[in-house]
Every structure is written in C-alpha cells, then in structure tokens.
C-alpha cells in the first residue's frame, strides 16, 4: 500500500478526508487503483499535486464500471473538461458521490447530470429514450421505447414543459424506495 509519507502529505490526506466521505485508508487505496490504471503516467508521489488526467477509455475499463450502461456519462459528468478526462481529484470525487455514505440529495444532483446526455440542463424526451435504450439494448422495439419514455414524462413532469427539470427529478426520485444506490 505504500507508506503515507511518500504518496500524500498528512495535511493533504486531511483535506481529502474533509472534502469526501472517505477515510485516509480508503483514499490511499483509491490512489492505488488510480495508479494501477496507468502505472506509467500516474506518479507515486502526489505531494506536489501533479496535474495528470487519465482519458475516459481507461477509466471505463475499470471492473466496477465496465458493466454499467451509463459509464461514459458518469465519467463525463465528473470530469472538468466535460470530455471524460479525470484527474485524481475528479476520480476521488466520483467515487465519493457514488459511495454509500453520500447523502441522497447529493446523489440526486449527480444522477440528474448523468442521465442528461445532451447536457442541456434538462431531461428531455430524447434523454429519456436514450436511457431506456441503454437499459434494454435492442430487446424493446422502438415504438415500445417511445411509449415508455412518454409514460415517464407524463408521470414525472410537473410543470408541463415536456422536460424534466431538476425539481421534477428530485421530487420523483426522493420518493422512490430503491434509490439508495
């Protein structure tokens, strides 16, 4: 695992502990995983905050994300440049929000971002259709998918603009019993 003193300074670890939901041991383990993705690029020593980013293709190959149909969108939602390149800060941030210790409202905000594929700040019908498409592959016929997305809009849209804003989404999700993950 490496001793604390060569990877991060103590105050860096404290800062990370304050900014995320992880303990110092978990942060060090995350660094190990980050490094395993590309040992040649990521340095062992992070004491002077090197500015290294890993491309999204590398991140989405991680076993935790490999099977997730939304992995590209997840990585893009957390990256600074919007294209999916994650620095270590973004990496830690992503897992902190996805972890089970993050509160519901924080997860809701990021979930909204993840499902918003065209990044316009709203979940329009195309976004919803895309979600259904990713969840079911080619099993459902196109008209079935359209039916599903229409029903979703009808159920959740409160203000009648045929788009789901963050308020609609929050209202709908916070009542769902299964959303904790």
């Amino acid at each position: 695992m490496g001793s604390k003193h060569t990877t991060f300074r103590d105050d860096q670890l404290d800062e990370y502990q304050d900014c995320t939901f992880f303990t110092s041991k978990e942060i060090l383990r995350l660094h190990g995983r980050f490094r395993d993705l590309a040992p040649n690029i990521v340095p062992m020593d992070y004491t002077n905050n090197p500015d290294i980013t890993l491309p999204s293709s590398v991140i989405t190959a991680m076993p935790e994300l490999k099977e997730n149909p939304f992995r590209h969108s997840i990585v893009e939602a957390f990256s600074e440049d919007g294209k999916g390149n994650l620095s270590f800060n973004d990496f830690v941030d992503m897992f902190s929000v996805l972890s089970e210790m993050a509160p519901l409202d924080l997860k809701i905000i990021y979930a909204f971002k993840i499902y918003d594929f065209n990044r316009d700040g709203f979940l329009c019908e195309k976004d919803v259709e895309e979600t259904v498409h990713r969840l079911t592959g080619e099993e459902l016929r196109p008209e079935e998918r359209r039916l599903v997305s229409q029903r979703v809009m009808e159920e959740a849209d409160l203000d009648g603009d045929w788009k789901l804003s963050l308020i609609d989404f929050e209202n709908m999700i916070s009542k769902a019993p299964d959303f904790i993950r």
């Binding site: 404290d14 800062e15 502990q17 304050d18 900014c19 995320t20 939901f21 303990t23 110092s24 041991k25 978990e26 935790e64 490999k66 099977e67 997730n68 149909p69 600074e80 800060n89 973004d90 830690v92 941030d93 902190s96 996805l98 509160p103 924080l106 905000i109 990021y110 979930a111 499902y115 919803v128 979600t131 259904v132 969840l135 079911t136 592959g137 099993e139 459902l140 079935e144 039916l147 599903v148 029903r151 979703v152 009808e154 159920e155 959740a156 409160l158 203000d159 009648g160 308020i167 929050e170 209202n171 709908m172 999700i173 009542k175 769902a176 019993p177 299964d178 959303f179 904790i180 993950r181």
Partner: protein, 731 residues
C-alpha cells in the same frame, strides 16, 4: 476591537466552520472544494487567534485546541472502526457478482455474528469462566461427576456425540454449576449472575434488534406501494450500480427488459376477465392443502417425540433411532417449503405477493414445528419432575439410614456427611440438562443438514451439470437441472430460526452460544465459497432494500416467542434439587429475593417491596397504555396530514396537465367555480411546492408576452386568446 466587531467576526468564523464541516455535501468540483476549504481554514486560523485576545484568551485558546484534538481523535477512531469490520472485501465481491439482494444475506449473517459474539462474551465471561476458575473442580461433588454406572462408556464417541458421558457433566450444560451462594475469594455470586446473564441475553438482543429496525425504517422511507411513478422509477432506479460481472449484468438487462414489457402490456390491455370463481376455488383449495400439511407436520413431530421418550428407556438403538427426532425436524424444514411452492402454483398470484405468502407459510411451518417440539419436551420435563420426587425421597431416606447407623455405632460423635465417592451418589434426573441436551442436539443436526444440503444440492449438482453435460442427451446447463440459484429467503429464515433456538436453549446450556458463534463463522466462509463456486445469478433480480426490515421484524417476533418458554420455566417450574445453580430453591428467581435480603442495604429491600406493590404497578401499566394510545393518535394525525398534502400536489399536477392539453378542468370544485364567475375566467389557484410556483393567468387577446422577473423564468404560450403565464419563483 469593539464588541460588535467581535460578535460579527465570531459569526463569520462559525460560518466558515460550518462550511468546512459540510463541504463534502456540496455538489462542487473537487478543485473548487479544495480551494474553498483552504481559504476557510486559513480564515478560521487567523481570526481565531485574534478573537482570543483579552480576558478569556487562555480559556478560548484551550477550548479551540481541545476541539481540534477531539476532531482528530474522532477521525482516527472512524478510520480504525472501518478497518475493523471483517469480511468487507468478501462481501463486496459477492455483491458485484450477484447483486445487492444476495449480498444483503451475507450482511445479515455478519450482523448476527456480531450479536452472537457479544452474547457469547457475556455468557462466557460472567458464568463459565468464574465457575471454571473459582468453582469446585470436576469430580469433587456429585453433580460434577459422571455416575459410576456410566463411567466405562463415558469416553465413547457415540456417547459423546449424544452429549452424554463427559459432555453432559461439563460446563456446557446447566447441571454442572454449583449452587454455592458465593464462590472464590472475590465472593462472586454465581447463581445470581447466571440468572442475570440469562435475562440480559434477551434484553441485549431486544435492544439491538429494535435499534437496527429503527435505523432501517429511517432509510427506507414511508410508503412504497404508491404506484405514482411506476415507469419513472423503473427507468431511473432499476440498475444496480454495484454490479461488476458480465453475466450478472446480462441478467439484469434481461430482467429490466422483462419488467418494462410487463408494464407496457399492463398499460395497453385491461386485465383479462378471468374466471373469478375458478380462481377463488383454487385458492381456497390451496390454502386447505397447506393447512393440512402444517397440521400433518405438527402431528408427525409430536409422534416422533413420544417415540423418542420410549427409546430413551431401551438400550439397543441404532443410529437412526437415536437421532430420529432431529432428522425428522430437519427434513420437514427442507421438504415443507418445496411443497408449499408447488401448491402455490395453483393460486396464480403476482410474484411479489406470492413471495410474501410463501414466506408466511414457511414461517408458520417452522413455528409450528418448534412449538410442538417444545410442548413434547414439556411433557418429558413433567415426567422427570415426578421421577425426581421419588429419588429425592429415596436419597433422604438413605441419609437418614446412614445417620441412624452412624449414631447407633458411634454415639458420641456428630454425623458427618457420608464419605461416599461422588460418583456413587444417587442422582436425580436433571431435567434442565436434558432440555439443554435436546437443544444442542437439534442445533447440531440443523447445522449438519444445512451444510450437507449446500454440499449436495449446490456443489454436487454443479459438478454433475458441468461434467455430465459432455455426454448427456439434453443440455444440462440450460434446461433441467442447471446450476442452482442462491435461495435468499430460505437461508435467511433458517438463520432466524436457528437464532430462536439458540435464545431458547442458552439458558439451559451456556455452551450453546459458543457453538453458534463457531457455526456462524464457518458458515460465512463456507457459504461465500459455495455461492461463488456453484451458484449462478438470479434470473429475476429483485431488490433487497425493503426486505431488510421484514427480516428484522421476523427476528423480533422469534425473540418474543423464544422468551416465553424460558420465562415460564423460570417463574413456575421448580429447579432440580441436586443440579444447577438454583438447586435447593423453590423457584429460580428466589436468588434475586435472597440477594436483595442479604446483600443489599435494608432500605433498598423496603424500596423493592414497595415497588412490587400491585398498587404501584397497575397505575404504571395504565400510564404506559395511555402513552401508547396518545402516540398512536399523533401518528395517525401526521399520516392524515401527509395524505392531504399528497392530494393537493396531485390536484395541482392534474390541473396543469389539463391546462396543457387544452381541456377544461376536471376538478369538480373548479368546474363549479368556473360556472359561477363572469367572463369564464378561471381563478388562479395558488399552489405551494418545493420552491414557490405561482400560476398567474392574465387574460389578454394578443400573442406572446415574455416577462422576466427576478430569478424566475417565465414561459409564455398562446392558447385560444388566453395568455397563460407561469411564474416560477424558486426561493
């Protein structure tokens, strides 16, 4: 610096501190967070020192330093605690392969292990260790020695597996403990401690179960049956983000697709008009069959227990006869659920409801079995009590004879206890030890059956399917039998009932909790291995989140049900006269009364006698009943208020949809209002939601008008000459 400035500065420092505490909850990018954190920390450090000037400086600085140290300590402790949780990695691996519902079983198992560990340490530390260290050693008094008749067979393996011989006369069972009031130089009161530990076991378990239930109830949220958002929830929440295995992911895709298709079909068609009468008849028939099965199994157990009592008097028993009772009970536990499932095919319920019925029936089966077993056991206990009376008389008569002889021969000496070897003394039948032995045997056979089932049902099956597939006519892996799925509900119920038996038996066999701890430990590793090696992910992957409280509720029920027999025996049955820590007393709880009289100061004794006065207890009970009634009505009121709010929101949404679809208002009240008012202009209903949304309609014959007000965004649309202006003002 002036007072006002100081106050303001302090406020700012407090604010910054709050920001630091909550910074991880803000949806910012990491870099921004780090920057703000650094700024806030610098600010706090700088001005905290400044604020400390003046009179209270030293105290303030000291307080600040203690606060910092405390926070650091807390953080280190949290780190330590997370490091201590066992098996975390193993469970996460299972979770990524099989989804969260299978992993929830293992989390439950780990929780049970923790609880049992605490119970074990209680029992071991306060009852077993003192007796072993400070009590009389083996062989010194009759209750601790194997009787002369049994001594040559005491070490035989078959005798030991029956828990007779040396096992019976060891710390494992109730009969070993001596009834001396205090033992050793510490004056440890063993009988009192035995009773207290017995009661404390139940008390601790109760507390822990209720605390976990309360925590789960918090997270789960109130009503889940609201089908308001079926499609939306299915879409956004059905994916299990913890899945990391391709096969499971495929299964998850398939199950999501199936559930979407089901909902679509439901939407498109009305329910077919089934033959209601046929269905009702079939359901009644199914329930009748199941009741018959339950009754049959209860009778079978009773019959077998009676037979085992007859067997106890014979000596030429094969292995089957000796263990018949346990085998039959375990087999029933295995066969019963399968039978219920096949009968339930008749009923044609929705799968979730069918699952609930299934669990309820399995629960009834196990409960019936357990209680029949107990009743039969009580018969045995009563028989033993009768026997005891005879032996007691016999041994008293023997002592009288001995003393008569003694004084006849040596008229000047007073009698000393007859120098008989402890092994030769006539023994009473120690009914508590017998009960303890029965429970231990039941637990052991339950363990064996479970492990064997996993080995044969899962492992052997997997081997056969894998290796015979090369030379078999049909595809073994895709058709029957294929690989097994992990039966979550069966396993959880097994665990819950096992715990019930432990609770019941641990009063009579203190070693039982230790056996259970070992069992849970090995179970964890064994089942983790079995799941990963032999099972495939479920076809219908369903969520575990709501089921958690269901299993806790079951555990609570079992706890109460296992409390009852133990309390009954403590209160009403007389303890054996020559074995156990309560021998010689009328009732077991006499120990408490004795302690209060002899050990505690006298005023406490009078206090207790006042407290036990019915005149005090009855008003206390009445008060509690009133409190329950009050809390109940308060929660009803809250529920009603909740429903009202929901209705309001629903109305607002419907209004909006109608407006959008150009329909007239469907709400009767609004319709009436419309007719009453001139110019057919709708009055704006003010609606309050999370932010504040005002519907303002302005009657205007022209086209669009786009207004911008403060933070809100207003959309204008033209409709039949009315201008609907929707104003969102989010605060």
């Amino acid at each position: 610096m002036s007072e006002g400035e100081r106050a303001r500065l302090m406020e700012e420092v407090e604010e910054k501190k709050k920001l630091i505490a909550n910074i991880r909850n803000k949806p910012w990018r990491m870099k921004r967070r780090l920057k703000h954190l650094k700024e806030a920390q610098l600010f706090v450090d700088k001005f905290e020192g400044a604020l400390g000037k003046g009179k209270g400086r030293k105290l303030y600085a000291y307080k600040v330093m203690m606060m910092k140290k405390w926070i650091k300590f807390q953080r280190d402790f949290e780190n330590f605690k997370t490091a201590c949780i066992p098996w975390e990695r193993k469970i996460k691996e299972v979770e990524s392969h099989f989804g969260s519902s299978v992993a929830s079983y293992f989390i439950f198992l780990r929780w049970m292990y923790g609880m049992n560990l605490v119970l074990f340490s209680l029992t071991f530390g306060l009852v077993v260790i003192p007796e072993v260290l400070m009590g009389l050693p083996y062989g010194s008094i009759p209750r601790k020695t194997v009787p002369r008749e049994e001594q040559d067979t005491a070490m035989d393996y078959s005798v030991l597996t029956d828990f007779n011989g040396y096992c019976k006369y060891s710390v494992l069972f109730y009969g070993y403990y001596n009834n001396q009031r205090t033992i050793g130089f510490l004056k440890f009161r063993l009988p009192l401690s035995y009773l207290m530990v017995g009661i404390g076991t139940f008390g601790y378990s109760l507390m822990v179960v209720i605390r976990t239930m309360a925590k789960n109830a918090d997270v789960g949220g109130g009503d889940g049956e609201d089908s308001e958002f079926t499609f939306a929830w299915k879409m956004f929440t059905s994916w299990d983000y913890l899945i990391g295995n391709a096969e499971t992911a495929d299964n998850k895709y398939a199950s999501i697709t199936t559930s979407f298709k089901e909902s679509i079909v439901d939407e498109q068609e009305n329910q077919k008009d089934e033959n209601i009468h046929l269905r009702r008849f079939l359901r009644v028939l199914a329930n009748f069959l199941i009741t018959c099965t339950l009754g049959g199994s209860g009778y079978l157990i009773y019959f077998v227990v009676k037979r085992s009592q007859e067997f106890a008097n014979r000596d030429d028993l094969g292995w089957y006869e000796k263990n018949e009772l346990e085998i039959i009970m375990s087999l029933l536990g295995l066969v019963g659920p399968m039978l219920f499932e096949t009968i339930a095919e008749l009923e044609e319920y929705h799968p979730r409801i069918a699952l609930k019925w299934q669990l309820g029936r399995i629960f009834a089966l196990f409960l019936g079995n357990l209680y029949t077993f107990l009743l039969a056991l009580f018969d045995e206990v009563n028989a033993k009590l009768e026997e005891e009376k005879d032996i007691k008389n016999a041994s008293i008569w023997f002592m009288k004879e001995y003393f008569a002889n003694f004084t006849a021969n040596n008229p000047n000496e007073t009698g000393t206890p007859p120098p008989i070897e402890p092994a030769d003394v006539i023994r009473g039948p120690c009914w508590e030890t017998t009960v303890g032995i029965e429970f231990v045997k039941l637990t052991i056979s339950d363990i064996q059956v479970t492990y064997l089932t996993i080995l044969i049902g899962d492992f052997l099956r997997a081997l056969i399917v894998r290796f015979l597939n090369y030379c078999w006519c049909w595809d073994l892996e895709a058709g029957w039998p294929s690989y097994g799925e992990f039966d979550i509900s069966g396993n959880v119920l097994g665990l819950v009932f096992n715990q019930g038996m432990i609770w019941m038996g641990s009063f009579y066999a203190p070693g039982l909790v230790g056996i259970n701890v070992l069992r849970l430990l090995t179970s964890m590793y064994y089942q983790c291995w079995a799941v990963m090696a032999c099972n495939v992910p479920h076809e219908r992957v369903f969520k575990a989140s709501k089921s958690n409280n269901f299993y806790m509720g079951l555990l609570l029920l079992i706890l109460f049900l296992s409390l009852l027999p133990v309390v009954y025996t403590i209160m009403s049955l007389p303890p054996s006269f020559d074995c156990g820590p309560f021998s010689g007393k009328e009732r077991m709880f006499d120990v408490i009364i004795e302690t209060i009289e002899l050990d505690l100061p006298s005023f406490l004794g009078t206090l207790f006698s006042y407290a036990a006065n019915p005149g005090l207890i009855i008003p206390a009970i009445l008060l509690m009943v009133l409190a329950i009634y009050y809390l109940n009505s308060v929660s009803e009121a809250y529920k009603n208020a909740n429903n009202e709010l929901k209705k309001k929101m629903q109305m607002a949404r419907d209004e909006e949809k109608n407006r959008r679809n150009n329909k007239d208002s469907t709400n009767q009240v609004m319709k009436d209002l419309e007719d009453l008012l001139p110019n057919r202009s709708n009055l704006p209903p003010p609606e309050e939601k999370k932010g504040q949304i005002f519907f303002v309609e302005i009657f205007c014959e022209r086209s669009q008008l786009v207004l911008f007000l403060g933070q809100g965004i207003i959309k204008g649309s033209q409709n039949r000459g009315y201008l609907h202006v929707l104003v969102y003002r989010a605060h």
